[in-house]
Homo-oligomer: 577 residues x 2
Amino acid sequence: MEYRAPERDAYFLMFELFRVQDLWPQIPAFADFSEDLIQAVIAEGARLTSEAIAPTNAPGDEQGCEWNDGEVTTPQVFKTAYAEIAQGGWLGLAGNPEHGGQGMPKMLAGLVEEMLWAANTSLYLYGTLTVGTCVCIDTHGTPEQKATYLPKLYSGEWGGAMALTESHAGTDLGIMRAKAEPQGDGSYKISGTKIFITSGEHDLVENIVHLALAKLPDAPPGSKGISLFIVPKYLPDENGRLGERNDWASGSLEHKMGIRGSATSVINYDGATGFLLGKENQGLAAMFTMMNYERLSVGLQGLGSGEAAYQLASSYARDRIQGRSPEGAQNPSAAADSLLVHPDVRRMLLTQRAYNEAGRAFAMFVAMQLDLAKYHDDVQAQTLSELLTPVAKAMLSDKGFEGAVLAQQVFGGHGYVREWGVEQLVRDARIAQIYEGTNGVQALDLIGRKTLRDGGVTLRKFVDDMAQSEVADEHQADLNDALDRLVRVTAYVVEHAADDVNLPGAASTEFLELLGLTIYAWLWARMVAAAPSDDFGDAKRMTAQFFFARLLPRTQGLEASICSPADAVMAMPADLF
Amino acid sequence: MEYRAPERDAYFLMFELFRVQDLWPQIPAFADFSEDLIQAVIAEGARLTSEAIAPTNAPGDEQGCEWNDGEVTTPQVFKTAYAEIAQGGWLGLAGNPEHGGQGMPKMLAGLVEEMLWAANTSLYLYGTLTVGTCVCIDTHGTPEQKATYLPKLYSGEWGGAMALTESHAGTDLGIMRAKAEPQGDGSYKISGTKIFITSGEHDLVENIVHLALAKLPDAPPGSKGISLFIVPKYLPDENGRLGERNDWASGSLEHKMGIRGSATSVINYDGATGFLLGKENQGLAAMFTMMNYERLSVGLQGLGSGEAAYQLASSYARDRIQGRSPEGAQNPSAAADSLLVHPDVRRMLLTQRAYNEAGRAFAMFVAMQLDLAKYHDDVQAQTLSELLTPVAKAMLSDKGFEGAVLAQQVFGGHGYVREWGVEQLVRDARIAQIYEGTNGVQALDLIGRKTLRDGGVTLRKFVDDMAQSEVADEHQADLNDALDRLVRVTAYVVEHAADDVNLPGAASTEFLELLGLTIYAWLWARMVAAAPSDDFGDAKRMTAQFFFARLLPRTQGLEASICSPADAVMAMPADLF
């Protein structure tokens, strides 16, 4: 697959829109990150992903993974590519410097993550599970656990995986059955079967560190009785070297629609040795701390797919000749004009682009809040990141999938066959809407815990901040309308939720999209204000014009739909479905 | 795959909504089709598809097709299933009775087609190409051609295929290169390479009849220089028996995202013998006559996928327990409540259902126009069918794909793996938006040839008819608003198209969706007026309530987007994409 990392846009977001060169010197942990260093990281990430990773994407999908008596073989081309990611230090980019990480901001790491996702989603899944495992151990682990696991994980010698789901317990983890028996020596014996374990078993690393959820014998029922355990494939000895093989194994691989280069195992724990991570019965909270941080990465996955798909489709549309312009032949010496003369093809491309570029800006904004919360003790940033994380995960993955489907449509029949690579992007992008909490769960989190719980105060404060931003004059009125609509709809939901307990759930998905589109409008209006007077800036202004004229109007229908009684959703008896 | 054909809804549409028992006795060709006969056809189609066809769907996808030195092998399970379709006479259901067809109305055949698509899209593709070939030969063939080919095709002993696309010429067929050399004996030698030839070569029938487009030596350039040829795999002898093997062969199979049981060939014509069908240089028009009739079938394919996906998702949602109702535990003795307590799950299911049932009614309405035009010389019905066919093809396939994706979302992670069958439906449904003219091409046809060419007169007349229908009182006001919006938007487009030549293309896709949603509103309001006082009728009323409250509002955003200058789409120079 051809892929060029969006370097120019990355620099624009960092230095022209969010001006990290003014922000980071105020944060001691980031004070050393000069403009030159940031540019070097972005440029090297761009080189790595375009040259070394992207060419492995199609072969990885074609070969897929193989299971043989518990051993899992990844695609041939993944070995060298993964080693480049690991040896380049990319897995420890935002990691804890006390244990081998590089301590870089999430804003910067997020830009690189998008590139890795775009270049090869299946391959980077081995990486992102490792990064997530590190976040969890760094946040909840003992000093010994950190010292044992983090350096090996940051370096990519070992890999990570999360074992949450059981076949009957997905979104509702409270009803899981996996058990943990204390052994009296501080360790536990873990038993049970977990499914959908991404990177649970594979051959890219010498050890795989599972973080598994299980219930202690005397645990309270439901989600308050779940604990989290470190369950490595090989038990480290006192020197941190590989010791005894642990008692778990991959029972089989899932046959998936996409991400076929990513090994997704059923894992059977047969009295495997585990070590408590964090406190007893507080495993779900510990896991969610990490997931909240990592959810942004799954949004970035969707964005990466959307960007890769846009690049394929726009390149195809420039080169492919078919039909004539409504204005008459534009290239009369050729048999036909390029696809770009057709307004409907442009509509599809501009839709992708408007969502991608706003999505990238949004992800950077959320990453900035995560950075401010983590490194600057900024409580408002923490609250704002909690409000926006589910929006980013769902919007970026929804629009990434929508964009990949539009790119496929630009290709016509050529988009449905393997040859051009775009059908793979559609299959791969789809998963980001489902895992790490389905987008429906993100929407419930947004409308319930993040909006209704404080009566909409946090959201209202964010709206006020958006209203006071410096934006382009030509989009101020449309932005104001959008903000007014959001305030109106939020007030409606807050007011009616008490009497109509099903209303939040009924409205949740559309409420998330309404907020997402409003944030995109705000960011487009800000980007136009910051855009330079060159081709790059012209493209920003034209894409913004398209967004306001053709995409933002969707919020009108969303308002009408959200502000209707939940009865339309709830009336039908279960047996009539 | 589990599948139950929607028999009750079929009877409702035929006898309660469209009342064919009053209509058909006025049409001589249909006078003999009694209620009993119609019910027997529907019931037998339901039995066939649920019991014999649906179980072949997943195995066919898993095994796929194989190519070996020009020979193509279809999935093992397809042989018996296809023989049942052929021997049951289903391919000749709407065929010409003078040549072995059963002469049944498209309204009835369409209901059966939906079932066949739903049960196994890949398998029925071998059938639908055969039916399409028959329509074309029946319309444009000589008496000898009809006598030679139709009986063998209706009986399913032979199969059909359409050879249009070349690798550089898809939507723009005018630039094709395939050649036809007259041989002086009335036959032609066909040379060239065609791609994406569905059912072009396979092992389910003893002969395959290609209808291939090619250019005569002295043909005018572009689309007015294309002729249509019958190019059978084996040349029939004077008695219609299989004779000499013709000089074409499958060069390879395409590797597709879905419909993997359907063999899609590259076909190399190496001086193959062909027989002119219709007139020289009028091949494209002949092909489009047929395609206009068959486009409804591709819409029905989308509907079938949407219906099959809804059935899987609603059944899963009833059985799967996960989480608790916002109203508190509904099933306190179980570990969790059913998915159906969650409003957002209901939203997804009701969206699918509202589109499926309106889509089915819409398809039947279009089929009724096709029947009236063909068998009752009804010129208005002909004009109306031409207006609505692109809408049906695009709306039904778009909403079929959207519905399959929603069904997949209801399944969560289980929707992404092969086991439950829903991911296959997503992959299979996607193609209906692309082939038989992409949905973008349908939208251009609607706004250009079918709307702007007569200044919107045909569409306006249809709106007036809709406004005068007998509909449920509770939806009359919403329907009137929707009709007013459609009139307003159409007037805007008609008025501005002359000055802004790119406006129709820029607005086309959204204009089609606006018209489609308005028609769905009209049909929902009519269905509620005709719905009986029982559970079936209750479900209709509740689904209608959902449609008006939650889906029709999308038209608000469509109006705002359509009624904006095309400049937002056209401004960006090609090299900035």
